[in-house]
Symmetry: C2
Subunit: 198 residues, 2 copies
């Protein structure tokens, strides 16, 4: 099972992190992001969106980190990480949407500006970040994990860009419950980190 | 099963559309969006994000249209709309992420500016829209449906804000495959529309 990967990508790290926690073996294929390899013909044939991560498993080719997390969890029947029961699956799903929406356009986008020079509207990314970090911090007042009272792929999808938010100029000091949650994830057996993580 | 709803919300329409197509009965609870009811204490108790749709089914309370689609499909064991097989589930999931990411921040955001006066960066929404509409149009050159060769909740999640993109100043004439796909959805038994739809 091949993961087309960039070490500095939080989206790629979502998959590496979950695979490490769930003891799933991945063959890491580094992509030369700075040279634009992800926009080249070979990669576009795998993912027309021109983005990584991409997972290739036999004839299965998947884009989008959240979709890859769903695939890996269901493929290995990891009920604890993504239950098949409807309510529990949907409770995890809510946070996958948050990862693709508010986290992507908040802390991820802010970091893209500061670290990679993307021409995005930085003030908007900071407003989006403050809102979602506040919501996360409030949620984590009464919950140790995002969903279901235990670690799920929701935590793997949301945490990566939150934990590297300072690389986008966003301090996490005002969000103590978020920091405590990141620390809980770090204590999970098999945890691996990524560069820049708090 | 109650859906807290706004007729003019494409996110609410995702749920109404799927329920109509899949013959699922919903009790529609209109929310006075213009008066800010979704930001009031009663609604925030159901969804701290201050957004609709919200689905309430007994003790189940769900935010996020995509999560609600997943819940309804799995609750009713609608394998055709959301398969439980890992690869097929993940192929649908890719497009749920697209709905929460590019569609939300492209055509949805552009319409929020034009129709509801949101102070978002309109040029950025247009760039995001052009990219995702081009990708959709290319994908639909060789596919009649977004995933699996037949209608799924992916179509219900992605189509709504695409079909009302002109309300955000985005013409769809350059995307003939997208228009043909919208027409195919309109031909499905049980289809219902929403105001402003092409």
């Amino acid at each position: 099972m091949k993961l087309y990967d960039l070490e500095l990508s939080g989206n790629c790290y979502k998959v590496r992190l979950f695979a490490a926690l769930a003891n799933i073996e991945l063959e890491i294929v580094p992509v030369d992001f700075l040279a634009g390899e992800h926009k080249g013909a070979a990669m576009l044939a795998l993912n027309p969106f021109g983005e990584i991560p991409i997972l290739v498993h036999g004839e299965v080719v998947l884009r989008d980190a959240q979709a890859i997390l769903v695939y890996l969890a269901r493929l290995h029947d990891l009920e604890s990480w993504l239950p098949s029961e409807p309510q529990q699956m949907a409770e995890v799903q809510q946070w996958l949407a948050t990862a693709a929406n508010e986290i992507q356009h908040g802390p991820n986008a802010a970091r893209l500006v500061d670290k990679f020079g993307y021409e995005l509207d930085k003030p908007t990314t900071l407003v989006t970040s403050a809102r979602i970090l506040g919501l996360l911090n409030d949620h984590l007042t009464e919950h140790d994990w995002l969903a279901l009272g235990h670690p799920t792929i929701a935590d793997c999808a949301v945490m990566p860009y939150v934990a590297i938010a300072p690389e986008g100029g966003i301090a996490l000091d005002d969000y103590p419950n978020v920091l405590a949650w990141i620390d809980r994830i770090k204590q999970l057996p098999g945890f691996i980190g990524m560069p820049g993580q708090v």
